[in-house]
């Protein structure tokens, strides 16, 4: 009896510590997430008496000072950065979504077997290039080229009628909102392609065979079966990449310029984005400005948080549709 118990005890002696250790890891990670939210929220409190949350989100201007008697004069508005974040990410996703999804279709449906693996590697390796390296390349090479080609063409044709697309009224600068969007497109295309590839690959083979058996061409199979079946998953891929674009800091910081005076009147002018503003203004920020940057960080967190939730729900739905677990 006691022998059996001691055997049991020695056999199970590691069980409890192991469980506690692994559960502890999960809890520690969760605690870090909560701490992150809490600290950024708490640090933004210094801002709210000066600038109410709603005015902060909907106004422009970036100025704050504390005079010797302790009176704070400040006006902080996040509108230019929020606008910049959205518009660059939208340009990015508008370019990256079709290219990424078409590339994924090519890799899964059309590429010869021998070509598919190396090409997949080449497409996805772009995602592994550090964003500061892409930023350096964009600043030194891509940006001047875009300015002298696409931007110039658009500004001198469409720009004549749509003020939003007209040339920078000052002089053509090294940076612009549009160029940041294109840089983001390059950075998130591999992500769209990688996730879309997984989604398209999980479309059941029998569906393809069904349509090919009826005499459909390759494109008809893609358009009538693969894209509709993978629709939810592809939307998830696009939103995931959108979230990545929203949070991208350094490459945007290097190419967007730091124009925080207001929402730039044309796409081809320097602007700013939430993440770029935090990275760029942090060095010499006064305490009250740090509060404003925490406020920016908070809005950035909320944006990516909501996107993560939507993507996860979509992925669960898409997995249910295709009858497999994610």
């Amino acid at each position: 009896m006691s022998e059996a118990r001691s055997f049991r005890r020695s056999r199970l002696s590691g069980e409890l510590p192991f469980r506690i250790l692994t559960l502890g890891s999960v809890l520690l990670a969760a605690a870090l997430l909560f701490a992150l939210i809490f600290v950024i929220l708490e640090k933004s409190f210094i801002l709210w008496p000066v600038e109410a949350p709603l005015t902060f989100l909907t106004s422009s201007g970036w100025f704050g000072a504390t005079d010797p008697s302790g009176v704070i004069t400040a006006a902080f508005g996040a509108l230019p950065m929020i606008w910049g974040t959205f518009i660059t990410s939208l340009i990015g996703i508008a370019v990256a979504a079709p290219i990424g999804i078409f590339t994924a279709i090519y890799l899964v449906e059309l590429a010869p077997k021998r070509l598919a693996a190396p090409l997949t590697f080449l497409v996805e390796i772009v995602a592994a290039i550090p964003s500061v390296v892409i930023g350096l390349w964009a600043l030194g090479e891509l940006s001047p080229r875009l300015r002298d080609s696409i931007e110039w063409w658009v500004a001198s044709s469409l720009g004549q009628f749509i003020p939003w697309l007209s040339e920078d009224p000052q002089q053509p600068s090294d940076t612009s909102v549009f160029r940041s969007g294109i840089v983001l497109a390059i950075m998130i295309t591999p992500m769209v392609a990688a996730v879309s590839r997984e989604v398209i690959r999980s479309v059941p083979q029998s569906l393809r065979e069904g349509l090919v058996g009826m005499g459909a061409t390759k494109w008809e199979t893609i358009r009538l079966v693969i894209l509709p079946t993978a629709r939810v998953g592809l939307l998830g891929a696009v939103l995931l990449a959108f979230g990545r674009a929203i949070g991208e800091t350094i490459a945007v910081r290097l190419t967007i310029g730091m124009n925080i005076s207001g929402v730039p009147p044309t796409l081809f002018q320097p602007g700013s984005s939430i993440a770029a503003q935090i990275a760029g203004a942090f060095g010499e920020a006064s305490p009250i400005e740090k509060g404003a940057l925490a406020g920016l960080g908070l809005s950035l967190f909320l944006l990516t948080f909501i996107l993560s939730l939507i993507v996860r729900l979509l992925m669960w739905r898409s997995a249910n549709r295709m009858g497999a677990r994610t």
Binding site: T22, S25, L36, G215, A279, L300
Partner: protein, 290 residues
């Protein structure tokens, strides 16, 4: 769908105008897809070409081994700093990530596992600048701008990468293996370590290497935490240089020599990232065995 006609009904096989149209559309779309696929690898080669042509001329041994204040200028402190900060970060992040992945896949109930997945998603989605912001607010007042704070900021970004990969590869391990081990009387924790994790080891390592690669490439969190320095020492209590911050700070310089430093550092970093990713690829291919 009604334009899809079965060939077996028409025995003469003459192409109707509709068939010709369908064939044309098909050819056009396939060509478009092929061109798009080629288009998506163009940036890689352009970046590779530009970095090589601008970075290679300055690349020599003294560039890699000299300090930033020596002549000729070198980046040894940035290389050291990047490696040390990343190493400390992964030493902290790997056990937490692997442990958490094990718990979520081996012990947690379905509901807890789903909540855990959601948490990992949210953590993966956190922009890296926010990890820097958090570490700056929470730890820089205590530890100062230092290598430690840089490592901690990176740890926050690495944990979900390791945890997600671990959880996913453990899911691929056949249940039969676990059952066989449990049936022999091996306790669950030993089964998990010596059977389940052993089988998935190369997959778990892939997650760790991915996290290292992510850490080496991060700029924004280090900008707010470990900042930069000209010291060559590896004192983690001091501000520390890193390759990404060197590139960032040199990129906007008006001195062409400093911009050249940025390109060469970018080349070194790019090669490192490439090596790590080839390693991952290689391992994942081997991984398909189980």
């Amino acid at each position: 769908m009604n334009q899809v006609t079965s060939p077996s009904v028409r025995l003469d096989f003459t192409l109707t105008p509709n068939d010709i149209r369908r064939r044309r559309v098909n050819q056009f779309m396939i060509r478009a897809i092929q061109i798009t696929a080629i288009l998506s690898v163009v940036p890689l080669f352009t970046i590779l070409f530009v970095i090589l042509s601008k970075g290679l001329p300055q690349l020599n041994l003294s560039f890699l081994l000299n300090g930033p204040l020596e002549q000729p200028r070198g980046i040894i402190n940035a290389i050291q700093g990047s490696l040390v900060i990343t190493l400390i970060a992964i030493v902290a992040a790997a056990p937490i990530g692997i442990g958490g992945g094990i718990y979520l896949n081996e012990y947690a109930s379905t509901r807890v596992a789903r909540i855990g997945e959601l948490f990992i998603d949210i953590m993966l989605g956190i922009p890296s600048i926010l990890a820097g912001l958090f570490t700056y607010f929470a730890l820089v007042p205590i530890l100062g701008h230092s290598g430690w704070t840089g490592s901690i900021a990176l740890t926050i970004l690495m944990i979900p990468v390791v945890m997600r990969t671990t959880q996913e590869v453990l899911r691929l391990v056949p249940t039969g293996l676990r059952e066989a081990s449990l049936a022999l009387g091996v306790p669950q924790w030993k089964t998990t370590i010596f059977v389940t994790c052993r089988t998935a080891l190369s997959g778990i390592m892939t997650g760790v290497v991915l996290a290292i690669s992510r850490g080496l490439g991060e700029t924004a969190p280090l900008l707010l935490t470990s900042q930069s320095s000209n010291d060559i020492s590896i004192n983690l209590g001091q501000p520390m240089n890193s390759m990404t911050v060197v590139i960032y700070q040199s990129a906007t310089s008006s001195d062409p020599q400093i911009v050249a430093t940025a390109w060469t550092t970018a080349l070194v970093l790019f090669v490192l990232a490439l090596i790590l990713n080839v390693l991952v690829r290689f391992k994942t291919v081997n991984n398909r065995v189980f």
